[in-house]
Symmetry: D2
Subunit: 377 residues, 4 copies
């Protein structure tokens, strides 16, 4: 089948939402062919799912380990070139590690691992192996996010002096107020949900977006988390003071008890020469403010955009693209890297972005545990 990239998928079977997103995204630019995988630990379901989505059963494997073993037996030109890891969070690390060690390219869902130490371990291996490794911070694929990154890179905003990101959802509110109900939510069980709920799920998206669009690193933070009830072990809400430098300050705000909010992720970046504002729920508008000029609203597909943004929308202005298209752009970025094509530095979020995300989670928890004090990143 021509020169398509041979893709394998781990997890994402059944009704997995993230599975649908990755499959559609990989198809968008006609660059990938899904040649096999292990979608489900249950053998029967694994096969029937593969059958339903049209993947030949000969490369549908009973386990991750068998997949590795069998694929390595295939000649390089038939072997899976890149493998998407869509399994539960705690499996990301062992799978990614083995894939890296065996020389596979990887597309891994976020959070990259369960601890920062694990993430650093992956980074060390990748440096040695030099494979392509993407972490799917999905929102970085939107054309107007890429336009933000490009404008800031070109200095359109001057020196960044203030940053403000919000990621508000309300989905935990309906289950949090009754003790028996909240006890049953897996996401609030540290054994299943990990160290953090709100910061781990969505705070990291905001953190990654901040570093992605500004090209700067967060240097210090001070966090205040909310758990709402004494018996609730994981954070539901947090406000994180941020220092990008001594005089570039800001805030990341994340909540899953912002009642009835859907997925209200906003970015506001203020510089000495202008400002940019973007809202995920209306992703095709980018507001650009400049002192003394009318407010400008940039939209996808126009010649006035950067090539990086234009390359991230598929049809003419006025035809809304959405979250699937955003993920599609990330897959397209990975494809370019795999095929050694020229691509923008931000074409896909990297393993390093995943490492930073894990560091952020741990430092936020540290700061909160230490009485809301400053910690360095």
């Amino acid at each position: 089948m021509g020169n398509k990239i041979r893709l394998g998928i781990l997890g994402g079977g059944g009704d997995s939402l993230i599975g649908v997103v990755h499959r559609i995204a990989s198809n968008m630019f006609d660059r990938y062919e899904l040649v096999g995988g292990c979608f489900n630990p249950n053998e029967e379901e694994n096969k029937s799912f593969a059958n339903r989505i049209g993947v030949p059963l000969n490369r549908v494997y009973v386990s991750f380990d068998v997949l590795i073993e069998e694929e390595l037996k295939l000649p390089v030109e038939e072997r899976m070139e890149v493998i998407s890891v869509l399994t539960p969070n705690f499996l990301h690390f062992p799978m990614a590690k083995k894939l890296l060690e065996k020389g596979f390219n990887v597309i891994c869902e976020k959070p990259l691992t369960t601890t920062h130490a694990e993430a650093l371990e992956l980074e060390a291996i990748q440096k040695e192996k030099q494979t392509v490794f993407a972490v799917t911070y999905t929102y970085t694929g939107y054309p107007m996010v890429r336009q933000m990154k490009d404008m800031i890179r070109r200095g359109v905003l001057g020196t960044i002096q203030k940053v403000d990101l919000q990621y508000y959802q309300g989905w935990i509110n309906p289950v949090i107020h009754k003790p028996e109900e909240r006890a049953k939510v897996w996401r609030l069980d540290p054994k299943k949900g990990g160290l953090s709920c709100c910061i781990g799920d969505i705070g990291t998206h905001a953190f990654d977006m901040l570093e992605y669009v500004t090209g700067m690193e967060v240097k210090k933070l001070l966090a205040d988390l909310n758990y709402l009830y004494e018996d609730n072990p994981l954070d539901l809400d947090g406000t994180v003071l941020i220092r990008m430098s001594e005089y570039c300050k800001g805030v990341i705000r994340a909540s899953q008890i912002a009642t009835a909010e859907e997925n209200n992720f906003t970015v506001q970046i203020y510089g000495s020469e202008g400002s940019l504002k973007w809202r995920q729920e209306n992703p095709n508008e980018l507001v650009h403010l400049t002192e003394g000029l009318p407010m400008q609203v940039l939209k996808p597909g126009h010649d006035y955009l950067s090539d990086f943004s234009l390359d991230s929308s598929k049809i003419p202005p006025g035809h809304p693209e959405g979250i699937f298209d955003s993920m599609g752009n990330i897959y397209n970025g990975v494809a370019k890297a795999l095929r050694n094509e020229v691509h923008d530095e931000g074409a896909f979020p990297t393993l390093h972005d995943g490492v930073r995300g894990m560091l952020f989670i741990e430092k936020v928890l540290d700061s909160n545990a230490n009485g809301n004090t400053w910690v360095d990143l």
Copy 2:
């Protein structure tokens, strides 16, 4: 490959925008497999394109006629089950006709044909053959459009008393004001562009949307078209007075000289019990007005929506879906019809919708030519 629907495509090769949309849409629900087609009349380009998008060359045919001939030789269980017609407009009729006669199911781009008479001919054949035939009025696939249709069907708006649709673009403005430039625009050449430009391209979308969401038929119209220059043979802009019944009046407004508008398609339906308003450029919000109550804004994916709408979005609220997803819903509707699954009456726009669209174009031109007088549909 399991039980996937075997899809063939005519046209849509090279950089065709509509080709991308159909391919992505057909993949969205893991229900179709693109098994072959004839993407380009140039044999070399046809093959290289097929290669690039990963379609096996053995079913990439040198011409439409060869495709028909060869596919018919295949056993029914291998033969293309449905064929998407994405060729230039004047080819829709001959291709759709032959496909119908040979018993193929068809997905055809709009406009269905170049005349109403041709459209009626197709309809007559289809009635006999009883195949599935969809016309891709893409915008009808949006979840909030389907919610509109369902709410009106359930009587939420009471008796419809006023309708108002707008479809404004600006793309012709940059080329229309210089005689030598406008003479070169194929869309304004009747030999290539057909009877109508603005009404044929976008007025029909508004007309179809009106009949789709209300479930009512337009009975009469009076049209006023604008050509801007005496030497310009095709309409650039038109306002069409509408009668749905003696006391249900309205207007369809379409323009391609609404300078710098992108794809500003809006629907406003007013009934005795409430109103609905929707805007294509922000497709995930549906405004519902009721006397004496706060304005309500409905969004995709919520339990308060109809099943028909819920079935048309793939992920939880707050994750924007767009025009590709809208087309995906239409392909999914066709898939249900092909597999004899229960599906909503509006799951995809039908051949009859295409016939109505051609009637609309002809009647608008008649009314305008007759000095802006009323004509019956």
Copy 3:
């Protein structure tokens, strides 16, 4: 009291909404002093109202005729300089006529008269008397409307090629569907409401706005009105095709059965070089579209605006002003004219605007009665 303009008011007593608006508007720029009037035909209510709002009783008159008689006895430097006519519509003409004849300046609510003939009569007298006469098309006072007018005047939009105005309300819907209820609505009784309901009330606002912002005249129109029920004598809704010139076409849409709409008045003007869009319910944003540039949103109080617009907002950007402020700007314009100060040509709507408005109403009714045919203005 210094050099303040001595203002008298006719009507507007009790709970009159329009009375409040005019009183607040006249105070906004510290230029008027309300010295007297006749607020109510009932003597007792007239006095108690005057007392409540703090007008000295010595110039509160029992009738319009007495007011004229007594004021004329006063020396010119004490006499009311301008009189606002806020009485029921049918009284506008006789009052305005007498005021003009006696040399008073007038601020008259719309509609100016009940027929176009009456309006012409007033215009003839005013030409002779050379007094200041304003007709309060309130919406023309908004700073962003004035910005529109100025930008079009300066040629920013190039040649205007399409115009589209909408004025949708829903207030008649709750009363129209029951025969006994609609029979009781005074606005639908031709004896009280005049020749037209919807077109007379709000269609004229749209018509005036169109001629105000473009500086062009409507040359021809074709109207389609809706009455919803056979026994309802006055129009509830209308769509009016417009010709500003042979190739500048457009539409005015007005409705009072657009269920649950509040006061949804929008203006869209498209020219060869750009477009402007404005919405009364969010009056502090003016959208400027230009091919190839990001959408621009202009807001009041910025240096990038015209002097005419800047002069129409009182405080810095970001502090919303509203409908009272809009009327205040009209009063300020009249004040400038009365004091012979330099003022913009559009500083207030003139008697001629009122005359045009009456012509529009009559021509719309003619066109509709003649089977929706073109009529010249």
Copy 4:
């Protein structure tokens, strides 16, 4: 002049913006008569200003002290009943103190004083004197703010669990980046501008709004301020972590270096049963989110609103009111208190609100100076 409230004004002369706002506001409900004042320390300008705005010169005084002295000589039924203090901030305290001591009712601009101690002193006197004392936190007069207050009071949101307020302006950005320019800005000179710039000017508005709409008190805060340059002595930007109770946390964000923002003041209140969101730049929309229901947008003037909100708009829905109207509602509230009419508890911001505001400023500065630590209020 009937029973109008006799109003005096201190300051607000010449081109004072706040003077215009107070004069228009006091006129809106026909309840006040401006009988005198001292508008300007310069005698000539004082008189010519009084003359221009039509205030009789016999009660235009050369100084504040003379005003007090002379007014006290007048019989109570002629004496100014309430005096608006619009002078520079450092004069608020001595003037308000003397006015209180002499038994005058006061309307005072914010900030109430320059220190919390002064504010407490005023409060002590007022408790003794029992006069009416309003502090003009102007934004609390908007009808939709009052609707928020009322809905929260009635329990519509359940238990408040998260609050988030933003007040972003950009006006200091153009002057801050050049040392010689920033040295000349009086607002950044501690001798003239007081202890704080950003927090004092606008952070207090957000703080007051929070306590106003929730009816709750902020218990603790932790602040992080930004000065941008080492030689700049006053804060330009600050983020303040908030505790309303152990488990009701939140954030107040204020900035005057949010480049090219106008007056972007937003309020987001999240409770266990729903949420409310409001934005000052579009003040006539109040968003109400409830889990499982469509988003609701409430607008002024509708029967579904509380009486308190309805009483704060003057005309029917769809006619925007603005910041002048908001201040008018505060003056109307004061009028009701002065006339012993029944009025809502939130009819005007009180002296106590002013005291809280001063406490907030001092505590924010303390927290920031102490290395961003928690301080109690």
